[in-house]
Amino acid sequence: MQVIMPVLGLTMEEGTVSAWLKAEGEPVVKDEPLLLVETDKATVEVPAPASGVLTRILVPPGRPVAVRTPIAEIAAEEDRTTAPSALPPEQAAPPAATSRPAAPPTERRFVSPRARRVAREQGVDLAHIAGSGFQGRIVERDVLGALPARRVTATPLAERIAAERGIPLEGITGSGPRGRVTREDVLAAAGGPVIPLSRVRKLTAERMAASARTAPHVTLFLDADLEEAARFRAQLAPEFARLGVPKLPWDAILAKAAALALAEHPALNARWVEGEGIRRHSAVHVGVATALEPEGLVVPVLRDAGTRTLRELAADLLALIERARAGRLGPDDLAGGTFTITNLGGQRIDAFTPIINPPEAAILGIGRIAEKPAVRAGQLVIRTQATLALSFDHRVVDGAPAAAFLARLAELLERPYALLGV
């Protein structure tokens, strides 16, 4: 019969044999002390569960094993004296499944296929392992538990990178001299750095993917002449500064122009409502996409951009950007946009196709504002220009009205004085 690691307390999960009081081959008498077990609380004397011969010690002193793990085998006297063939058939029946743990025949050791494979791969001799699975079956954890703790050596750089990224060195095969784990080994094990998603990044990813998947995008391009607008801005900026608004951002001018054009073209100031239809907005609130590296992008909103003055919009925008960079944007700063503008002009980008900020109907992308060649009255001239890109949701609006809106927007930028109110 099997001797198992006894349960010596309610909370005991494992125990360590501190000493065997009998040697293999020695006779034992039921209830005489067989071994000492050390728990986290005390060292306890454990009596022999049966009389017979201690045929095998499965767990040597010093190694903790789970409770109920077989730790030794006793060939009990009854086992030796009663020949099964002498019993009537009914009594020879195998023990009921409930009498657990039933003793496996000592000559046959059951090993799970997985444990057998791991033992083969790790060069572990199964003969010296005690099984902790069903009826003493050796399972993978028994084999892994028998492995000597592997001493991993690594280069200092590899150790640092592994620590920084939380990669356990134990699982890595070293390719350096004498199996040393190198920086390359750690990076290969990591499969390249994985950057956890911030909330903003995650939302950005989800919403952009949803927009690209559901809204059929069409993008219109138009080269707008901003020569006059640049002059307009240069003249207004000092006036604004005098009134406490240090700068006049291009985005404020663009937002104002977009808002005025939207008021005239309400088809683009709308949203797609799944299962209902198209909802037009009464107010115009223009969001301005703002990059927050590396977290993602946020879109603070200029409320009532069409009806408020350019100076108010400029002041608002400067304040919003400051709050965005400081991570202090409140829900009110971000809610309620009906249209978005996004400006990559600062990045030397000529033009791009923006993705609509759902559930809005359209978005305006502004490329680099710079001097570019243009033809005016048959002459090649140099003018300050930018490529405007309007992406719109073709479910909500068609090409012609979108084109009319974009043309009107360009017109407002080319004759910017109307932005001051007419």
Binding site: R114, R207, R213, G365
Partner: protein
């Protein structure tokens, strides 16, 4: 461009874009979209048009109104003819979607399914295709008793030439039905009567889920659970319970039984070392046995415990609620089996 607005509006917007449909509605949408796309697709079966405006489970609701009764054909109660005529229509240039009201009635129609649909292509040296779908529903749990509650997927899986699909979610139901309709082979598309009312996010518009790609419905480290139909849902419930004990189930829905994505199952078992298969079909000769066999063949050396079947008892499905519940595998059975595996009791 890349933008996002604030969290609240983002959450609202995402909700506005989520389309929550029932499994039946998702199937209806797949049929509708495919019938609009391909004029050779038509539907026929018992009570698919007139009854309540479209089928006793409402899967074909409104289709007759949109496509007319030429393409949404009510049939007499003639199961063999429904399937046999679908085979002939498919072999001659149509894409029929034939419906059997209950899978239990397929006994009347096995001849055209097994000897005609499944075999024409092979017998004729690849010269003919049979692009038909046989839609039907199976499963127990509603007190429909022995002749209206069976799960017979294994019958079909045994016949080379048939494909067998068993979606468990609305999104899978739509994508798989679209794929089944577009597939050039006879596809037995098995639905589950208790799943029709279940709800989930279903993308708008046409999309396909390829036949032969399993879905890991929940990842976990300790036990691979491969379930069919309702048992996927029950396995997920069991996984929730067991997570509190630190036992992690990896729940895999094969989604199509033929072809079977054995790679996903085998990879999972290589990780976990333990396997439970679970279906409402009777244990004996069930498809779970096939999955176990393949895992034993392909991943024997990764098994740390014997595979376990948590399937229906080998009994006709009884009527009384007490008996029916006892005949079917339940969440508690899965929990018990998983605990036994983790506590070395098997």
């Amino acid at each position: 461009m890349v933008t996002t607005s604030d969290r609240q509006t983002a959450a609202e917007a995402v909700t506005a874009h989520e389309r929550i449909l029932t499994y039946a509605q998702a199937l209806n949408e797949a049929l509708r979209e495919e019938m609009r796309r391909d004029p050779t697709v038509f539907v026929m079966g018992e009570d698919v048009a007139a009854w309540g405006g479209g089928g006793v489970f409402a899967v074909t609701r409104g289709l007759a109104e949109e496509f007319g009764t030429e393409r949404v054909r009510d049939t007499p109660i003639s199961e063999e003819a429904i399937v046999a005529v679908a085979v002939g229509a498919a072999a001659s240039g149509s894409r029929p979607v034939a419906e059997l009201m209950y899978v239990d009635f397929v006994g009347l129609a096995m001849e055209p399914l097994v000897n005609q649909a499944a075999k024409l292509r092979y017998m004729f040296g690849g010269k003919v295709s049979v692009p038909m779908v046989l839609r039907t529903q199976q499963g127990a749990g509603r007190g429909n008793a022995a002749q209206h509650s069976q799960s017979l997927e294994a019958w079909f899986c045994h016949v080379p030439g048939l494909k067998v699909v068993t979606p468990s979610t609305p999104a899978d139901a739509k994508g798989l039905l679209v794929s089944a309709i577009r597939d050039d082979n006879p596809v037995v598309f098995l639905e589950h009567k208790l799943l029709y009312g279940t709800k989930g996010h279903v993308p708008a518009g046409a999309y396909t889920i390829p036949l032969g790609v399993a879905d890991v419905k929940r990842p976990g480290r300790h036990i691979t659970v491969v379930g069919v139909h309702m048992m996927v849902l029950k396995a997920l419930q069991a996984a929730d319970q067991l997570a509190e004990e630190g036992i992690e189930l990896e729940v895999i829905d094969p989604r199509t039984l033929v072809p079977l994505d054995e790679a996903t199952i085998v990879e999972s078992v290589k990780k976990t070392g333990r396997l439970i298969v679970t279906h409402e079909a009777a244990t004996r000769g069930g498809y779970g046995a096939e999955i176990v066999a393949r895992v034993v063949e392909l991943a024997f050396d990764y098994l740390d415990a014997p595979p376990v079947r948590v399937c229906a008892k080998d009994v006709p499905i009884p009527y009384s609620a007490v008996l029916e519940e006892a005949a079917l595998p339940q969440v508690t059975d899965l929990v018990t089996a998983a605990r036994a595996l983790m506590h070395d009791e098997v």
